[in-house]
């Protein structure tokens, strides 16, 4: 059983069996309030799936403050249960959902970019092209930032159709983790996909106060 948590867009907690049956799929549509809702969503999901063997974590990209809530919850939940975590790029979960939905209706998915809001007049995007033998989306370019006005030009160059996403399914994060585990692959490093250094200005000289 795999528990999945993602707070890169909204708050999502799900649990699936190792072969992909969804046992719980909890969502909060509110794009904010991650810290407020995550505990109850987690408790509901784990009451349907009380003994996960792994905890899949959506590592972003996403607005930092909310993203961290899910990662903190997932890491410490896993610590409490004594089970390993499986980091997953959140865009991989979104891409997997798109590819599986198309496959279900027998539609070939053209090369596409998952696009999410990155604040500060920027988008985060990752480009995918089909699904591989492990059942995982083929990521042809890792998550990156683009100024909003430049994105369409960039995607045209990459030959990728634009797919804007406003939510992430934690079940898809869990499924990507299950398939990565089956294939012995690692999808993301242990660090959140911040894509941006901490927003800071270096210490400057104190301002004069007298005329």
């Amino acid at each position: 059983m795999i528990l999945g948590i993602d707070t890169s867009l909204g708050t999502a907690v799900a649990a699936i069996t190792r072969d992909g049956e969804v046992l719980a799929d909890e969502q909060s549509a509110n794009p904010l309030g991650h810290a407020e809702v995550i505990g109850d969503l987690l408790r509901r999901a784990t009451s349907a799936a009380p003994a996960p063997t792994h905890v899949a974590i959506g590592m972003g990209p996403g607005p930092f403050t909310g993203l961290r809530v899910g990662i903190a919850t997932a890491r410490v939940y896993a610590l409490g249960r004594g089970v390993p975590v499986v980091p997953v790029p959140s865009h991989d979960g979104i891409a997997l959902g798109i590819l599986l939905a198309d496959a279900l209706i027998d539609v070939e998915t053209p090369r596409f970019a998952v696009v999410t809001d990155a604040r500060r007049r920027e988008f985060a995007y990752s480009v995918y092209d089909g699904i591989d033998d492990d059942g995982l989306p083929v990521r042809v370019s890792d998550a990156a930032l683009s100024p909003r006005d430049d994105l369409d030009g960039r995607l045209a160059e990459l030959g990728a159709a634009r797919v804007d996403a406003t939510s992430v399914s934690a079940a898809m994060i869990s499924l990507a983790a299950a398939r990565a585990l089956d294939a012995g692959r690692t999808l993301a490093g242990p660090e959140p996909l911040y894509l941006r250094s901490p927003d800071v200005v270096a210490a400057h000289a104190p301002k004069r106060v007298s005329g």
Binding site: G33, H34, A35, E36, V37, I38, G39, D40, L42, R43, T46, F64, T65, R68, V69, G70, I71, A72, T73, A74, R75, V76, Y77, A78, L79, G80, R81, P192, Y194, P198, D199, V200, V201, A202, A203, P206, R208, V209, S210
Partner: protein, 366 residues
Amino acid sequence: MHAPLVLGIETSCDETGIGIVRGRQLLSNTIASSMDEHARYGGVVPEVAARAHLEALQPSIDAALAEAGVTLADLDAVAVTSGPGLAGALMVGVGAAKGLAVALDKPLYAVNHLVGHIAADILDADAGELEYPTVALLVSGGHTSLLLVRDLTSDVELLGETMDDAAGEAFDKVARLLKLPYPGGPEIDRAAASGDPTAIRFPRGLSRASDMASHRYDFSFSGLKTAVARWVEQHEAAGEPVPVADVAASFREAVVDVLVTKALDACERHGVPRLLLGGGVIANKRLRDVALERAAAAGVAVRIPPLRLCTDNGAMIAALAAELIASGRRPSTLAFGADSTLPVTEIQVAEDPDAEPPAPHFGAAA
């Protein structure tokens, strides 16, 4: 009968604190600080602090358990700071605490950081029972508050707080004016050692007779900082060397004077001959010395927890939860968030009316 074993998580500012207590017995006070990462910015950068919390959580919990010689399965409850503090930093701790409480199926207590500073005192095994009521002066880089504590778990009143900068922040800003490194407290202290605290009469904020009606117990340090800046600039403009030691000593004296004067005034006006000091700025020896000397003259007994418990830490959060449990308080719901401006009257957040009261086998914390 045993006192509850509680793990406390504190992430309100730049220290990731994991504490473990058994009732009033301190088992671990593990602190990971991101202070060095903030040094180049001259102050705490919220995003830097929040990232550091996320990285420090797991190793700090492991270290605290190892030091306490307990396992997660032994815990009776989890406690966490809900506020006040930096919202993004607080949320890391709130998420972690909820993850742990759900994983262990243990009660969760969401508590007030400032009241936690008072609870630090009860972990001092050598100090004897904390008597009520007491006035508490809490001074750090994030807060400057004067409280009247009638009961740790049920009755804490805010008498006053800073209207602008916290005292610790003022030390950092004046250190920068004097071209001293961050954090400013110890640097100002070092510079002040050879200085004359009476050399320059810097203003005492909100201490005029006209301030007494509405701001008797409030603090303001931004005017003081500006006065120091103006004094330094005038000397530089006149081509005179800035006597850093005298400026540092005189600035520190102004801060210490206003803190101690208002705290002892609160003791007198409320007829409370007890003063508890807490917060990281209590590490400042001049503040402790002046407080002890003037309190003795006023017949006020001063309590100062060990310095490791004065700075932000998880043990004080665990200790406050252990006291809440001992007094029969039910755990919090899972539905609370981070509240960056949580008022001090909210000692516990989101107590769940439907929850079971604490297990009867938890004896009084002892």
